[in-house]
Amino acid sequence: MIQKVTLPALGETVDTSTIERWVKQEGDAVAKGDVLCEITTDKATLEVESFYAGTLLKILAPEGADLPVGALIAVVGDAGEEVPADLLAEAGQGAAPQTAAPAAGAEAATAAPAPAEAPAPATAAPPATAPGRIVASPRARRRARQLGVLLEGLTGTGPGGRIIEADVVEAAEAASAVKASPLARKVARREGVDLAAVAGTGAGGKVMRDDVAAAARGAAAPAVVPGQVVPLTKMRRIVAERMTLSKQTIPCYYLTMDVDMTEVASLRGTLNQKANGRPKVSFNDFVIKACGRALKQFPRVNSRWVEGGIERRGAAHVGLAVALDEGLMVPVVRDADAKPLRQIARETADLAQRARTKRLVPDEYQDGCMTVTNLGMFGVRAFIPVVNPGESCILGLGVIQDRVVFRQGGIQVRRIMTMTLSADHRLLDGAVAARFLETVRDLLESPQALAEA
């Protein structure tokens, strides 16, 4: 039976998406839930799954086509079934003009072969493609999503031939087909460096950590063609629009305050000694939790500027700015006030990782009232961040450094961090913001309470 596959809606703010890659080809057998293709929005890469079982009869949107939500992109039906002409016509209207021509051409070229080939897979398929679903553990699927590894074609070595996490990790490493030290691989994953492109200086050309670090520095200054105008990626364009909107429409003011992070540093050390393989708690995680707690106390900060007024929020959702090669994303830690630090650590690690591989779903980067952004790791002492329009404020964290301070009449060396709050004056006045910031500071200076609940 002929079934239409349309471009899914992926969130309130997404109205077009680009076909990134067809995973299934015309003539392929598909099961319910099989991934048909991958699409990209301005922020994420997502998989389109089939709602139907049958054969992928016709692809109506070529890779690279940018289409509106709801557009017809493919037809699934029984093997050999004819695709009705009116559907082909609908695709012709639905697709952007520049894609209409190749689609029509492809239709002419494959109209005859497709039905002719269809019976062949039906009989030859069983041994070749092992029909039915891919057997993989949930953990392997999760890891594959993180690493961008396709499960198709992997050999499972787990119980019953199931694909397990180790298979996925090994495939990802084999795909790079490079000899590299484990530390180099780890750094490469973190920095987003392609190991295959790195010249190794270790024994037998093995890629070492320093090679990856050098490559990461080199990548920061890529070869430049003078005079070349680089077209904007979707993300670059969104960043440009949002930040310009912020600077042009938001009357912003800036509050700077020092916070003594000595206690946080020692508590963090204790916690991480007991991490026992779990994600380590970062300074950001402490700040996120402190902000969550403070948001609960200050409803005026826990608000968003929306059409028609100021929206008060109940839950304390805190965004974390994550730098990417081509821009940045702000995944949101939900209910940051109520979660244990370890859970926040686990979530931020996971969200940042998936932000870098563009695997966040829209719900994971919407709904925040404020953002935490940290440039301390680059040695920045203080900076003025730009408010993400809609949010009430953004907190910029500088480097934590040993500074000499006066305490109890004497001189002491403490771990001090300077933080700067940029706030939208339309919904948040200076005195409230200052008290909010003071509360965050107090929470960080007596952090035991953050660790306890």
Partner: protein, 327 residues
């Protein structure tokens, strides 16, 4: 730190709490003059007298009912049921009266009582004296179930249970009474609902309680010799359950073996399996394995008895099934 036996730890907990709070008293079959079937109340009558250490008639229903009534009247009874197998006779009083009283009277009464009992196989004393019936009680709302594996936990948990306002079934293990372990001289309490990680590892999580926690630990040592690092979680309390500790461990290892000396089908560990698949589904790398006792009355023959209950070898084998790779 001094080493004492599990049964001494139980006795010390009782004595300390009786000295601390005069509302605490002990009763049960042969607990006073004889000192308890497994010697866990030895010497108490000498110190506290027959009023506070009471031998009762052979009627588990009467023991549990009297304890329930005394608790409602403001006492803090610790009653002993000689074998968990005999809890069937005490069940109505414990489950229907003690467990529901606070709820049904809108919180106007509490029932701060502890039923101490013991279970488990190992002495070839057959089908009426060797069972592990904790799963019957984890099914009952309103009661807690606590099952310590070490002298340290036995003492610290029993003291906590006596001070708690809920009816609690405290199940000791008959094969552990003579086991020794370090117990500090100074006072301490072990909180309810907090599991203990007995061994850390990143390859597979073994969850057990009571004697099975020790066997899981043994299995962990054996696996380590083969290069497999197992993490061993001792639940200590079945209710309240420290599910977070289990979830944290499973998120780390991706593999789980749950162990219980109770009968396999509808065992309490099935509840753990349900929660793990619900809250850590995306972290599982292999189907969860359970290692429980055979679904038959516990045999009297030593050979068959050993065959019927989980051993360290069986636990290690289950761990290997979760780790198997057909390379």
């Amino acid at each position: 730190m001094p080493e004492i036996m599990y049964r001494e730890a139980v006795r010390d907990a009782l004595a300390e709490e009786m000295r601390r709070d005069e509302r605490v008293f002990v009763m049960g079959e042969d607990v006073a003059i004889y000192g308890g079937a497994y010697g866990a109340t030895q010497g108490l009558m000498d110190e506290f007298g027959e009023e506070r250490v009471r031998d009762t008639a052979i009627s588990e229903a009467a023991i549990a009912g009297a304890a329930t009534g005394a608790a409602m009247c403001g006492m803090r009874p610790v009653a002993e049921i000689m074998y968990v197998d005999f809890m069937t006779i005490a069940m109505d009083q414990f489950v229907n009266q003690a467990g529901k009283n606070r709820y049904m009277f809108g919180g106007k009464t509490t029932v701060p009582m502890v039923l101490r009992t013991e279970g488990g196989a190992g002495r070839c004393i057959a089908a009426h004296h060797s069972q592990s019936l904790e799963s019957w009680f984890t099914h009952a709302p309103g009661v807690f179930v606590v099952m310590p594996a070490t002298p340290y936990d036995a003492k610290g948990l029993l003291k906590t249970c006596i001070r708690d306002d809920n009816p609690i079934l405290f199940i000791e293990h008959k094969m552990l009474y003579k086991e020794k372990g370090e117990v500090p001289d100074e006072e301490y309490l072990v909180p309810l609902g907090e599991a203990a990680v007995r061994r850390e590892g990143g390859d597979v999580t073994l969850v057990g309680y009571s004697r099975m926690a020790l066997r899981a630990e043994e299995a962990g040592e054996a696996l380590a010799e083969e290069g497999v690092e197992a993490e061993v979680v001792d639940l200590r309390c079945l209710r309240p359950l420290d599910i977070d500790c289990i979830l944290d461990s499973v998120r780390k290892t991706g593999r789980l073996v749950v162990c219980s000396e109770g009968y396999q089908e509808t065992n309490f560990v099935c509840e753990i399996v349900t929660k793990v698949q619900r809250f850590a589904f995306d972290y599982l790398d292999a189907p969860i394995e359970r290692v429980c006792s055979a679904n038959c009355p516990v045999p009297m023959s030593p050979v068959l008895e050993n065959e019927a209950v989980p051993t360290a070898e069986k636990i290690a084998a289950a761990a290997k099934r979760t780790l198997a790779r057909n390379v």
